[in-house]
Each structure stands twice: as structure tokens, then as C-alpha cells.
Amino acid sequence: MKAYFLLQFKMGNRRMIDFGLPLLIGYALLICAFLLFSNYLFENTEFATYIYGLAALSMVSKFSAYERNDFLKSIFNRTNYKKLRLLENSICCIPFTLFLLYQKQFIFAILLHVFAMLLALLQFSTTFNFTIPTPFGKTPFEFTVGFRKTFYVFPIAYVLTYISILVGNFNIGVFAMLLIGMVCFSYYSKMENEYFVWNFNLSPKEFLLQKIKTCFSFFTFLSLPILIALSVSFLGEIEILIIFFLLCYTYLATMILAKYSDFPNEINISQGILIAMSFMFPPMLFIIIPYFYSRSIKKLNTVLHD
């Protein structure tokens, strides 16, 4: 069992190195990010304990995936498997428990740890036989896959828009539109297998344009109801609305260009930093868009040809 945990540790380290982070800096950043997130949550909302608990349990629940547990069962005997799973969940939950103790939430801390360990006895099957319908099946794959993973966000965004109109709060409406923008943005965060790029009989430029065109039309399809509803209800704020809408387009295009700028590798830490900086200082987009574009053309040229 010791060998198993050592292997998990090694795998974690390798992931960090692959992401472009030296181990010491990586662990320091991880601890800082965790403490900042925890602190922010407890300072800003009275429901922090519940959100915190849910975040911890959803993280721990990833260990309960069906295939993973089947594999573990096949290599460990029953007693060792249970010990291992209990330990695994417990270790993952420790930072959350410690922070709750620091916040003097003693009962919550104990309950969270007990629940996390109980989760070790459950297994989640991911192979249920139901296909979530999507309007994007004719042009796979980013929106098809993404929509199926985040379908519940869209009704929430539309309800928020309705509430925004009902209570006359324009900001909630803008938030709803940005929410859709951010969700669509996330569809482009993972690199597809190079085979799917290789298949296209387009030049790199045509390929990128097609990707951006598809993204814009599907984003418009999803956010147009919000845009129309808010335009009608807050006519005086229409300029702000259009600016946010155009910003969503710009960031979506930036994300697509960033995604292919290190093809066939995933977006790395430096690209991530550039995107994050552009969120804080949007004029940076005038520099990073041409930069990502020229890099993407160069990288895509290895499998697509002019």
C-alpha cells in the first residue's frame, strides 16, 4: 500500500512538471491558492461552510469513479482495498478539515471527514445509458461535448436573466451573459487528439477561422435570448450590453487561438498567465491575439498544409 501512495505522489509530481511548474513552486502555489480561496470564501459568504463542504466532497468523490475502483479491486484484496480507499479519501480531505478546525467549525470538520470516509465505500458508475440531446450534433465537437457536460448552466443563466428583469437589476443580467461566455470559453480549454486536427483538409488559417466561426455562431445561439431580453428591458444600457457581448467574442477567439498556439500540447502555464493578465488588462489583447495567431499557424502547419 505504501508503494501505491508513493506512486500517486510521483504521478502528481509528474503532472505538475508537465504543466511547466517546478515542484517547489507548484506546491507553494497550490497551498497559497487553497488558503486564498478558503479565506475568501469564509470572509465573503455566510454559507461558506456548506460551499466548502460541497467542494471538498466533490473533490473526494472523484476517487469513487467506477473504472478506477474496479482496477484497484483487481489488484488489492478486499481488506487492503477498503483500507486504501479510506486512507485516500481521508488524506484528500485533511486540508479542508484543518481549515474548518482553524475556523472553529469543529462539528462541521468532524462531519466532513466522516462523510468523506463514507464516500470511500461508494462507487459511481459513469456508464449509464442515456445520451443528453444537444442542438450542436451537426457540427461536433467542442459545443456538443461541452453542452452535455454543462447543460444545467444554461437554464440557470436564463432564470438569472428573468430575475434580473423582474427585480430591475441590470448587473444580474450581464452576469448571466458572462456566465454563458465563461462556460463556452471552458469548452476550448482542452486540446483534442492530433488525429482530429489532422483530418481537416483546410489550411491552418481556414481551420482557425472555421473554429472561430462555429464558436461565435453557437455562442450567439445560446446567449441571444439573454441579449434580446436585456436589450428590451434595459434599453438605456444597450451600449454596455453590446460592449460585454463583443468582449465575450474577443475572449472566445483569444482562447481558440491560445489553444492551438502550442499544438499538439495543452495550453501551458505561460499561455494561461497571458490570458489571465488580459482579463485584468484587456488592451493586452491587441498584443496577445496576433501573437497566439502566428504561433497557432506555425504549430498547425505541422499537420495541416497551405
Binding site: 445520451t131 461536433p140 461535448v145 483538409n201
Partner: protein, 226 residues
């Protein structure tokens, strides 16, 4: 049709393909055999343009890859994409308009289910269906019979024979000699990144016997099984 001249490939210091010269004609089926790690898949990846290489690969097409159907040993599938969406994705990539997809589902796959939930054989059949519907002129089939049931095996064999009639060029790698013997015009034997033999149809049976003797030899005795 496709001419390979002095093709070499290195991964770091390790040479995986060593000055390969090959020519593939239109309307012919070619088999590539060799041990695991002999370089078959790397050769296919070079021809497809998925790898950089030293040497030349010339073809009758401006961009060979735009006319090439590539079946990978282990096809990749997105987690939440259905069989029909996978086929659509590959057709869209080549600007092919698909009609009557259900009728063309010759392997009777559950096209409305997520492809990631398919069995190994079903995944292979789905990937094959997708490249068949791309209307390619050249096909590279890396282990097309692996994990596939006997009925589909027969169907794939007949599809390959049909390709010959349609004047397509097909390159197949397989460890199942009988299927290669039934379909190929010529078989190339690879070892350590080199083509060590080119065998014509009339010598296939000799090749099988030779390979058996060479591969098996006295290796099993070395295990000292009791």
C-alpha cells in the same frame, strides 16, 4: 501513387525507421508485418504526415493527407460524443455531406450512444465506418482486425477486396496472417525499422512458415513450463 525514398525517423537518439524505400501502386493492397516495435505504426504516421522525418514521401496528390483515411490502432474518442456525431465530425473535416447515415451503418453500431462506452471492437468498427464515409483514395489500416468479432472480420476483408476493385490503395498492418494473405498483393516484412523482405502473393505460404519457425523456434522451451 506513393513513393517513399530513404525514409528515416529518430526519436531522440533512437532510430526507429532506417532508410526505407517503398512504392505503393494504385489499386493494390499492401500488408506490413513485423514484431511489436518494428516500426509499422511509425511508418504509417510518417506517411500520414503526423510525424516529421528524414527522406521523401511523394504522392500523386498535392496533399496526400487530404485523400487518406487513417485507422489508428487505438482510435481516440471524446467522452461525450455519440457514434453518429463522431462520423459527422470526420465527414465535416473533409467537407463531405453525409446522407442516409443509418443505412450506411453496416456494422450495426448503436450510433446514438456515446462512443466512449463502446467495446474495443465497436470502437474500431466506428472509426473504420467514419473513414470509409470520407471517400478517401488511400487507406492506412493499422491493425483493423484487432478486437473485432469474426463476422465483422469477414466484412472488413470484403471491404478491402472492394477497395482493390475501386482502384484504391490500401496499406494494412496486422498480426493475423490469414487475413493479410486473403487480401494483399504484396507483404513487406519489417524488423528494427527496416524492410527486410518484400513478398509477392505466390510466396505468402512460404513466408508464413518461415515466420512461424523464426518466431516460435525454441522460445517456449526456454520458459521451462511445468
Amino acid at each position: 501513387m506513393i513513393k517513399i525514398e530513404k525514409l528515416s525517423k529518430f526519436y531522440g537518439q533512437k532510430q526507429v525507421l532506417n532508410t526505407i524505400d517503398l512504392a505503393f501502386e494504385k489499386g493494390k493492397i499492401y500488408g506490413i508485418v513485423g514484431e511489436n516495435g518494428a516500426g509499422k505504426t511509425t511508418l504509417f504516421r510518417c506517411i500520414s504526415g503526423l510525424e516529421n522525418y528524414k527522406g521523401n514521401i511523394k504522392s500523386a496528390f498535392k496533399n496526400l493527407k487530404d485523400h487518406l483515411g487513417l485507422l489508428l490502432t487505438e482510435p481516440f474518442f471524446f467522452p461525450k460524443i455519440t457514434g453518429s456525431e463522431y462520423i459527422q465530425l470526420l465527414a465535416n473535416a473533409r467537407q463531405i455531406k453525409l446522407t442516409n447515415m443509418e443505412d450506411k451503418n453496416i456494422f450495426d453500431l448503436p450510433l446514438n450512444q456515446y462512443a466512449s462506452t463502446y467495446s474495443t471492437g465497436m470502437k474500431k468498427k466506428l472509426a473504420l465506418t467514419a473513414i470509409l464515409l470520407q471517400e478517401n483514395d488511400v487507406f492506412i489500416l493499422d491493425e483493423p482486425f484487432n478486437g473485432v468479432d469474426i463476422q465483422s472480420n469477414l466484412l472488413i476483408t470484403e471491404i478491402i477486396k472492394k477497395f482493390k476493385k475501386l482502384d484504391k490503395t490500401v496499406l494494412i498492418s496486422s498480426h493475423i496472417f490469414s487475413t493479410l494473405a486473403a487480401t494483399c498483393d504484396e507483404i513487406f516484412l519489417m524488423k528494427n525499422g527496416e524492410i527486410i523482405r518484400k513478398v509477392q502473393q505466390e510466396d505468402f505460404s512460404n513466408l508464413e512458415t518461415e515466420m512461424k519457425n523464426f518466431t516460435i523456434g525454441n522460445r517456449i522451451d526456454k520458459l521451462e513450463l511445468k
